[in-house]
């Protein structure tokens, strides 16, 4: 398109000390030969060294979404509540009364595998900045974690480090970590997943965007000083690991949650005084991507003077300053005349602020620095800045390559799906099987994790971790009027089901995350995604990705919930072995009335236990039961009937909103099937003194016992109702086209599951609880 625009961009002179740039150097920056040629053609010249670094990060998979962009457009991103869809720092959804929820999820997989504590901590720090950058106070964190098989030699240290890191950051900055998910599979042995979700709340008329407009407006750097940490983090995130992966340690950033707390409070104070044109955090690719993206969104240009950048390491070169991913830094563009007040607020919070440039109308991103100048030197030389980079903004953003990479169905998939789960020998005791399943690392209590997270800081947490959705009360105040918003949160994905059918698995992830939010008593109002896949240059991986997008899109359209933000993490492979395709999704739900809030656990004895939705548990393919007995993700997986799912969620929400309340608890059936769901209803309550047993029968008589107990078919919810209310619940459900099956009743100190009068499972609640709570003991000890 613009290959004929030669020599329109003047070349900066080579910066003293920088290496000469050629194709080999470009290749070592992970640019392909075609991309190098494309860059040279666009510029009409070869880039200088710092420019090459900038191009390589801006065109990296991580920043440019070059392999995923052609597919992401198929996701539904609009709706009556959507204030801001994908493309900004985070998505924004209207929650009424003049307030909005701001949320996003992001991966920090590669850094966490190299340095679990700092990788996870800075992942949390980064997503928090994405949210408060938009003017919102963060009110909840969630995390979605995947590790390798429990007995892999690195799993214990990775799990300990990641959980401590997530907690260490969130606990210190004072944002409650209210929920999440954790699972283990050998596919993650060489590439764990650490996905962090944050939601904040903002006045809908005080949302801030990453814009750099208004010629002459000052560009202000606020926060931590720049060091050499994290250089080329974005390109590392776009690369596979090899067996010597941990040697990349120096590229992992180090987090300082105290600094970020100061940054958060200072920014919120600056927002309240309306001093800014725009703001963006310096995340991946640091100063470069933040400034380029701000100028790109505004169609403006920028002139930045690196001599003014606060730094903590001596002798930093322009290349290093532009690519550093030092944490806890923000880039602000102030309104004219407001810079002094911005600096004053920063001083109050003991933060450094420096004016490092200004907005221009040239459409060019121009960087200057003085060769040899170092403010940290014993005797700094006089400043005489020269141009280091001079690049068109749209060249770095819009002209980044976009690939529609080839796709091919995995030839091994039909064979894996053909496995017949009925060939698994029935266990000698279904009671022992239930206890073993309930106490397995994938299905047991996550208490060891969430006890390390401050899930109640700020005092608003109403439903703590352990139910289908966490619920947080958020006090909101504007112009002296106070309202309270109740928001529900869940994150979900079953990578095994995605592995066997990416379309169905991704649709089921969307359905489940919404179902979880509805089980909490809330209406889902928006979704964010974090799409973790292998190497997109392999056609089988690209096929998974494309199908997962289509599955998510179909489920979102059916359920009427938009995706408003997200993140793509590709190249999750080690030595050519990809992770399970893991399109993690997070949902935000709005509770209409505080009386609608619902928990998963059985609340009392003497209630009727009903199953809403489908009656069958199978097929068993991809279930924990099959993997546990065969070691492989295989078999015919369940599919989802989206129309039935829509009806189920509508009926459940209607029931939870009805007054008087008939439905007293709600828990969806997912990993581990109906038996595990019932075990969780009995034993997964905060207070062990409040455990309530149950005596139930399986709903379907024409199905194998294993599938009936442990099949993971979606579209099912276990609820409790008062005796006598069953008919009214059945009437409401029937009117909404949802089946209801009476399973039994609550009470006693045991969970008993029968079929056709024959007792299959009979376990005491104390042993069930102990099994669940000790599920990680083999990995991390007591």
């Amino acid at each position: 398109m613009s290959t004929d625009v030669k020599a329109t961009v003047p070349s900066p002179a080579p910066f003293p000390g920088d290496p000469a740039v050629d194709l080999a150097l470009a290749r070592s920056h992970k640019l392909s030969a075609e991309e190098w040629a494309r860059a040279c053609a666009h510029l009409g010249r070869e880039p200088q060294f710092a420019e090459l670094g900038v191009i390589s990060v801006m065109w990296s998979e991580h920043c440019s979404y070059k392999s995923s962009r052609v597919h992401l457009g198929r996701l539904p991103t609009t709706g009556p509540r959507v204030i801001q869809g994908p493309g900004e720092n985070a998505g924004v959804v209207d929650i009424g009364d003049g307030f909005a929820a701001v949320f996003k999820m992001e991966s920090h997989n590669h850094p966490s595998f190299i340095e679990p504590y700092q990788g996870a901590a800075t992942g949390v720090g980064g997503i928090l900045r994405d949210v408060f950058t938009m003017g919102a106070r963060p009110i909840a964190n969630l995390d979605s974690l995947r590790f390798g098989r429990p007995d892999h030699p690195r799993t214990a240290a990775l799990l300990r480090g990641v959980v401590a890191g997530v907690g260490g950051y969130g606990n210190c900055i004072g944002v409650p970590t209210v929920g999440g998910e954790l699972s283990f599979d050998k596919a993650y042995d060489g590439n764990i997943l650490v996905n962090a979700f944050t939601c904040g709340v903002v006045r809908a008329d005080r949302i801030f965007y990453g814009r750099a407009s208004g010629v002459g407006n000052p560009v202000i750097y606020v926060g931590a000083r720049t060091g050499r940490d994290g250089i080329h983090g974005a390109t590392m995130a776009s690369d596979e690991f090899s067996a010597e992966g941990p040697s990349k340690r120096p590229t992992v950033q180090v987090g300082d949650p105290f600094m970020e707390k100061l940054l958060l409070e200072a920014c919120l104070e600056i927002f309240a005084e309306d001093l800014l044109v725009g703001i963006q955090d310096m995340g991946a690719a640091g100063l470069t991507s933040s400034s380029v993206e701000m100028a790109g969104r505004s169609g403006s240009g920028l002139l930045l003077d690196l001599d003014r950048v606060p730094r903590r390491a001596k002798g930093l070169t322009p290349y290093e300053m532009l690519l550093s991913e030092s944490q806890e830094r923000m880039l602000l563009v102030a309104k004219p005349g407001c810079e002094a007040r911005v600096e004053e607020i920063c001083r109050k919070w003991e933060l450094e602020a420096a004016i490092i440039g200004q907005v221009t109308d040239t459409g060019r991103w121009v960087i200057q620095a003085t060769p040899g100048y170092d403010p940290l030197a014993d005797a700094p030389i006089a400043r005489a800045p020269v141009t280091v980079c001079d690049l068109p903004v749209d060249f770095l953003t819009d002209a980044a390559p976009k690939y529609d990479r080839p796709q091919r169905e995995d030839a091994g998939l039909p064979g894996r799906r053909a496995f017949d789960a009925a060939t698994i020998a029935a266990p000698q005791s279904w009671s022992a099987e239930l206890l073993a399943m309930a106490g397995s690392p994938n299905l047991g209590s996550r208490q060891w994790v969430w006890r390390q997270y401050d899930h109640i800081v700020r005092g608003g947490t109403e439903v703590r971790p352990g139910s289908d959705a966490a619920v947080v009360r958020v006090p909101c105040e504007r112009d002296g009027v106070r309202v309270e918003k109740l928001l529900a949160f869940a994150v979900d994905c079953n990578g095994r089901l995605c592995e066997l059918d990416a379309f169905q698995g991704a649709a089921m992830a969307i359905a489940e995350v919404c179902r979880n939010v509805v089980c909490g008593g809330a209406e889902p109002v928006g979704i964010t995604d974090c799409l973790n896949f292998g190497n997109p240059e392999r056609p089988e991986i690209m096929r998974q990705f494309a199908q997962a997008i289509d599955g998510m899109a179909a489920a979102c359209k059916a359920l009427g919930v938009p995706i408003v933000s997200g993140n793509v993490s590709l190249y999750n492979e080690t030595d050519g072995r990809a992770i399970l395709p893991t399109p993690t999704v997070g949902a935000v739900g709005l509770v209409r009335d505080a009386g609608d809030v619902t928990r998963a656990g059985f609340p009392e004895a003497g209630l009727s236990v009903l199953l809403l939705g489908g009656r069958r548990g199978g097929p068993l393919g991809g279930s924990e039961y099959v993997v546990r007995h065969t070691g492989e993700v295989q078999g015919e997986p369940p599919g989802i009937d989206l129309a039935a799912e829509v009806r189920l969620q509508a009926v459940l929400l209607e029931l939870l909103r009805a007054r008087p309340r008939h439905v007293l608890s709600a828990h969806d059936v997912s990993e581990g099937g109906l038996a595990i769901a019932l075990a969780e209803c009995c034993a997964a309550v905060d207070d062990p003194a409040r455990m309530v047993g149950a005596m139930v029968s399986l709903p379907e008589e024409d199905e194998g016992l294993a599938a009936g107990l442990f099949g993971e078919a979606p579209g099912r919810v276990v609820v409790t109702v008062r005796p006598g209310d069953e008919a009214e619940v059945a009437r409401i459900a029937g009117a909404g086209g949802v089946g209801v099956t009476l399973l039994g009743s609550t009470g006693g100190g045991r969970l008993s599951i029968a079929r056709q009068g024959a007792l299959l499972v009979d376990v005491g609640l104390a042993e069930l609880r102990e099994a669940r709570e000790r599920c990680l003991e083999a990995i991390v000890g007591r």
Partner: protein
């Protein structure tokens, strides 16, 4: 629509009490402290900044909330103690004014020498957030009318109370151990040496100490559990409210004489 939730209709002691919540850089449990005082108890509530040299005039209760003051980079509370406001808190405490330090606030009070002993890393070396039970073991302005056992949440990495044998003896003799960790029936277990934390004693504190009191009239209380995070039913229980109710009653009793002597407010 939901109304402002904390206009609770339970009987609130009628009060003219004035509470001040202290903010350090890194305080993060200030929101719930303000909410409990201002919205649940309907107490006039101010904020003081760590650089302020004086508490707001008329302050009856000075509350130091939890968090990570100054990042806790030296020791929890170790840098906060040299803040200007700490000198003002000390004067307030010496005059008999109520001081409540929760979690990091407790750590600041011990670092500042307003309460004896120290809070060290939890015995299992992990951050721990969960509900525990505590039992009030003494009398004092924060402890009158409390239930025999309170269910309260903890959320800390450094909450293991330790002190020298002499200090512990002095605390016991002066009835200054305010709260001890216990089981739901109120039984205080012995903490075995080999596994120094138990389900009841979550961090391995010496003598299961969860909070201590000091000051000329037991007017300074420090505790690790968070009463301000369990003062409304939606939070999973409201046992924490009783402690604030006690403080309000105490302030109401002492306010009038203080005004006569012209000593109120510390202006």
């Amino acid at each position: 629509m939901n109304h402002w939730p904390w206009r609770d209709n339970r009987v609130t002691p009628s009060t003219d009490m004035h509470a001040t919540v202290i903010l350090f850089p890194g305080s993060n449990a200030d929101a719930e402290m303000v909410r409990t005082l201002r919205d649940v108890l309907q107490v006039r509530t101010s904020i003081a900044w760590h650089r302020d040299a004086e508490l707001p005039a008329g302050t009856d209760l000075c509350a130091i909330p939890g968090g990570f003051s100054y990042g806790d980079y030296l020791r929890a509370g170790a840098i906060a103690r040299v803040s200007p406001i700490v000198a003002a808190i000390r004067r307030h405490a010496e005059r008999g004014g109520l001081v409540l330090g929760v979690c990091n606030g407790f750590q600041i009070l011990t670092e500042a020498g307003l309460l004896p002993g120290a809070l060290t890393r939890n015995a299992h070396l992990r951050f721990e957030c969960r509900d525990v039970h505590v039992t009030p073991q003494a009398e004092g302005p924060f402890l009158t009318g409390l239930p025999r056992v309170l269910r309260l949440p903890i959320a800390h990495a450094e909450g293991r109370y330790q002190a020298s044998p002499e200090t512990l003896r002095a605390l016991e003799e002066s009835r200054s151990i305010a709260f001890q960790y216990c089981d739901r029936e109120g039984r205080i277990g012995r903490t075995p040496d080999e596994a120094p934390w138990t389900e009841a004693n979550p961090n391995g504190s010496t003598l299961s100490i969860a909070g201590i009191q000091g000051g000329p009239r037991r007017n300074v209380l420090g505790l690790m559990p968070h009463p301000e995070r369990m003062s409304e039913d939606f939070q999973g229980g409201a046992d924490g409210r009783s402690l604030f109710d006690a403080a309000v009653r105490s302030a109401a009793e002492t306010m009038a004489p203080a005004e006569i002597t012209g000593d109120a407010g510390g202006a």
